[in-house]
Symmetry: D2
Subunit: 217 residues, 4 copies
């Protein structure tokens, strides 16, 4: 697969190049300009909202697919990205960790069946993290569909653990996700890129990538 | 709720009486005969296959619901139980732990989305347990739909822990069930009895009790 | 071993009789009076402070050993118990769970070697428990010798889990205790009784029972 | 602190430079020769047994401390390293993970107090790892001082988890170590280097570094 990369010189850009090493990087777009030869099948952008205009222009020029994980996009920018999905395959998400996405889907679907169980959330992150509970903990609680206590541990260099724990009088059932490394998003981006390179035009969530293009409710 | 109990003098019978203490036990059927006054709304049987004939006769006589968790029923006996579902509500399962049932349902539905993750099972039981892997571990592996290593720890007085662990290059996701006490089946029986007392005639699985009568595939 | 039991008719008394079933109960002392024939080698008291006088009188009469786990003893009462240790073997503790005691000993000895690690405590108990953090969590934090966050989950029927978690930039190390059943104290009492029946006169902690009579600092 | 580094261009050399970034690298020794200006206070060697001669010569020339984590040293080589401890501070270990070392120390000291508990070991590593059980699992079992089952899970990209689990009839107690990243050894090397730079001449284990130079049995 030939791919293009926006923000190739940043930290996330470096991770993507490393995880995409079996594929050919044939185009880069950076604050310093464009480089490249050949036409990418898919463009990957995990950079800044300010880069969006140049990214969209390049995608249109190449008529290639787009995988975009940039956070902080405005409503108007998100609309532009959705519009692009009318002509090419676009995968957009604010979280490209497959495990977190599946965790969320399980909670959304099975949470109601645990309605009469107690539930609490426990999450652990490195001691530099300022916010508590984590964005992922909030996302999981939203998927669960009911409020519950969330405990935040801030310790050492832990990349990120999240547990949702259910308990009844006689049983305990817990679901736990652990990010092994910060490369996790790059693996998700790779999966999305392989999906997007072969998909029909459309605007896809990362859930749809994981469920093979089947639209989820 | 008025209930009848088959095998009231056995260990499981004692557990059921304890967990059903908010309800009225108005009929018992045992190897020593019947006792009771009044008509039960639901009959509960977690005894022996040999008791089935007497149980079915009593249910027909009272025209009450039936919750049956007896293991070791023959094919022919199971057919008889199903037939009874044409005239009264019947809940039948070989495992009345709600958490195990939900665990199984999650694996059956989401297992395919973890197809490219590694998976292993780990289970811990008390050191008197002879079989390994446990029946529940086998049931979970069947629900998962693919073979995988299963590790069995046999230690102390542990009632029963089961973990299904998925790992990819960058993430780990695990689901863990713990039986807190051996009362867990009695809690499930209570839930099934409350469901059966109010249900339409039919033959229901414990999954359907948990999903409120919605037929599951 | 012949043993006597104070508070034989209470819940804890029942547990002790069950766990001590390999031994001979030859004396009971209760609010309703004494029963028994024969001389116990060891007296076991997990009852109320108000019973202490009668317990001490009986121990002196039989010149037997004493295992006492009664909580809420006054300073003066504790002194009386210690005095008794001059003539017979006495084991006294406010917590007869072997695992909790060993956990405490590990933290007291190794806690200082984790001085440059982050540390937090997480404990889970049934949803009827009012106090948080639990007495055991406080005891573990004291043994650790430094203040740290303690997270309390109150869920279902969990008898009691306690974790002390250390993390550095590159490692995570956790110690976890789980009470499997409420019989755990009766098992500790049995161990203490077997120790006391064979010991020299003296006043012993449960730690000394576990370390075989070696005085701990 | 000024330090020298043997094998600076290797993977482990790169990790050490990254973790030692607050210190000044003033000397390197590699297959391609020496570079550097100034005299290191401590030399760090996590390279190959074949480099030992050059390392020892450089340490003698600078009369500096040595931290050596090279694996595969012969008996004769190890003797040479010990001899060097007569004139300069030398820290030698085959495992510089602080958590693993503390884990081992806890088991060695407290293992005997769990003699009447069941015990099993569970360890998880990435699916590229060939050997099972892991070297660390064997080291922990040796520290425990009794044989026990060891379960090895080989999954995804897990850097390395190790659990030693004890269970009695009424309690479960587990100790778990998780390597967060492969940098863990470099952190231990840093700690050893800071210790060695300030120590008296002698031959020290990593345990002694963690216990501040106090000789351990």
């Amino acid at each position: 697969m030939k791919y293009g990369l926006v923000g190739a010189s940043g930290r996330m850009g470096g991770e993507i190049r490393r995880i995409f090493s079996a594929h050919e990087l044939c185009y880069t777009l950076d604050i310093t300009g464009e480089t490249g030869e050949g036409v990418p099948e898919v463009m990957v952008d995990f950079s800044q909202p300010s880069a969006l205009g140049a990214t969209l222009a390049a995608v249109r020029r190449f008529s290639c697919s787009l995988v975009i994980g940039t956070t902080g996009l405005s409503e108007a920018q998100l609309e532009e990205v959705k519009d692009l999905g009318r002509s090419v395959p676009v995968v957009q998400s604010f979280n490209f960790a497959a495990g977190v996405t599946l965790f969320k889907m399980i909670l959304r679907e099975f949470g109601p069946l645990f309605a009469d169980w107690d539930v609490e959330i426990c999450e652990t992150h490195h001691n530099k993290k300022k916010d508590a509970p984590s964005g992922t903990a909030i996302l999981l609680r939203d998927a669960l569909g009911r409020d519950c206590p969330a405990h935040s541990l801030r310790m050492g260099g832990v990349p990120g653990d999240h547990s949702v724990i259910f308990a009844s009088e006689g049983e305990l059932f817990s679901l736990t996700h652990r990010a092994i490394s910060r490369s996790v998003f790059a693996y998700g981006a790779l999966r999305a890129a392989e999906f997007a390179a072969a998909a029909q035009p459309g605007f896809y969530s990362f859930e749809e990538v994981l469920t093979c293009g089947r639209k989820t409710s």
